[in-house]
């Protein structure tokens, strides 16, 4: 079954949220809005029927900084997307949270391959090849400094330092990928299957710092 069809099934089965986006099914399709705008009358929100509008909505945060990682806890409020089909719903969600829906289905199917930090750093080349020199202790520290809701990223980390070295317990390593105090069965968790390139860039800075 296609991802859009599975998504429609999941919403029919009770899924109502992904990240900071609320999903409401209705007769004419689907309605997306910020989870904190749940009680706001539709007339007070800026509405669009174009799933591609999700890119513009999710590009800039309220304070006008560029959200280059979409798992950031900084999605702006005040918008409403009215979508007419599961394909449009899928397209919009893939712009808000790229690949998140597919990663969640793959996890459910037992097909999601997480990649630990060591092999991720070991395959880097060019200016990032020195990140493989990052110490375990500094890597653990970086997870606490870069990842998790305390640093504005609300993805659930699936990777470890290596197969034998789990992440140390912290708010970042413990976070389950669902924003807010909601029924976990009604939310698609945001999954982090390998350290992102922002983390690798921070690892590069840390290695340069360690070398000094």
């Amino acid at each position: 079954m296609k991802i859009a069809e599975r998504l429609a099934q999941a919403v029919a089965g009770g899924i109502r949220q992904i990240g900071q986006v609320s999903i409401r099914p209705h007769a004419a399709g689907y309605e997306l809005r910020h989870i904190e705008d749940e009680g706001v009358p539709a007339a007070e929100l800026e509405s669009s029927q174009d799933p591609a509008a999700a890119r513009e909505i999710s590009t800039w945060a309220e304070d006008a900084h560029y959200r280059f990682t979409k798992g950031e806890l900084s999605l702006k409020r005040g918008w409403l997307l009215l979508l007419s089909s599961a394909d449009e719903l899928r397209q919009a969600l893939d712009l808000f949270y790229p690949a998140a829906v597919g990663l969640w289905f793959a996890q459910g199917d037992g097909l999601l391959e997480a990649e630990h930090l060591r092999p991720k750093l070991a395959r880097q080349t060019g200016m990032y090849r020195f990140t493989r020199n990052l110490s375990d202790a500094r890597a653990q520290q970086l997870v606490r400094e870069v990842c998790g809701p305390g640093n504005c990223c609300v993805k659930k980390i699936l990777w470890q330092i290596d197969a034998d070295t789990p992440l140390e317990d912290s708010d970042a390593s413990r976070f389950d990928g669902v924003v807010g105090d909601v029924d976990r069965r009604q939310a698609v968790p945001l999954l982090c299957r390998e350290a992102c390139n922002h983390f690798v860039a921070e690892a590069r800075k840390a290695v340069k710092g360690e070398a000094k």
Binding site: K2, I3, A52, R55, T59, W60, Y66, F68, T69, K70, D94, P98, A99, V101, G102, L103, F105, A106, L112, E115, R123, T125, G126, R193, E194, C196, N197, H198, A201
Partner: protein
């Protein structure tokens, strides 16, 4: 080579992206939208080196079992020959993995149809400048590290010269190697000069750095989406009339070049094309 629709297949457009400037990835999404609207593929997706979805994540977004990967880059080099194959785990022109077939085309910038796009852009930006009194510059970054990007531009310059478009002169020029675009007025003998940046996106280079080198701006301006007014042509500078275009990759017809690369891939690598 015309493009035959592939409703069973997915198109994956690969871009660089940026953690500093969202304009950097805008053209890739526009190219994807254009091709999606034309309906040539069952699915169209983008993925990036610096943005999300990453090249390792994007495979989880794709339903199709056959995927055409088109690097939306201007030349062959480090990214198209090393980073993209490594991240997407491609082993050659065609890779079979976990029930899916991945076809890896050449980057858009090396396709011969780029020539027509460059000429069209040059005409649009300077509709009143007679080609016989105009010098056309195709501008790239230029660096000692990657000769391929300079080669892609020099190839285009030769193709434009041979095209019969009638420009008095056509030159390659670069930000960081000779011939330097900063010396455009000395390189051009004609009263009119048209400059087209050979980049995919209007990022730091085409929108901020090159205008300073040309003398249009005294210092780098804001990112493209933050500017209130698009630059006005022509500019009367250094005794000449200068027309400056946005990056060639922002052209909506780049969608045609992407489809041309797919068609060329099939012609080169596939003896039978599945229905």
């Amino acid at each position: 080579m015309s493009f035959a629709p592939k409703p069973h297949a997915a198109l994956l457009i690969v871009g660089h992206g940026s953690t500093e400037n969202p304009d950097s990835s805008t053209p890739y999404f526009e190219h994807a939208d254009e091709i999606r609207q034309r309906g040539g593929f069952g699915e169209v997706h983008c993925c990036f080196w610096k943005e999300e979805p990453s090249m390792r994540e994007v495979e989880y977004m794709i339903d199709a079992e056959e995927i055409y990967v088109v690097p939306d880059f201007i030349s062959e080099g480090y990214f198209t020959q090393e980073v993209i194959p490594r991240e997407l785990r491609l082993e050659g022109p065609t890779t079979q993995r976990a029930g899916k077939t991945w076809h890896y085309t050449l980057p858009v910038g090396v396709h011969r149809s780029m020539t027509g796009l460059l000429l069209q852009r040059a005409k649009e930006v300077a509709p009143d400048a007679p080609p016989s009194e105009t010098t056309l510059f195709i501008v790239g970054h230029g660096t000692g590290l990657n000769q391929n990007s300079t080669k892609a531009i020099r190839d285009q310059v030769e193709l434009i010269k041979a095209s019969g478009a009638g420009y008095a002169e056509v030159h390659d020029a670069f930000m960081e190697e000779q011939p330097f675009i900063a010396e455009w007025d000395k390189l051009a003998a004609t009263p009119n000069v048209v400059v087209v940046p050979f980049f995919i996106a209007d990022g730091l280079h085409s929108y901020q750095d090159i205008p300073v080198l040309l003398g249009i701006e005294a210092e780098p301006g804001e990112a493209a989406s933050q500017r209130e007014v698009f630059r006005h042509n022509p500019h009367h500078l250094r005794g000449k009339t200068l027309y400056y275009s946005s990056a060639i990759g922002t052209e909506r017809n780049m969608a045609d070049v992407i489809l041309d690369q797919v068609a060329d891939f099939d012609a080169t690598h596939r003896t039978t094309v599945s229905p």
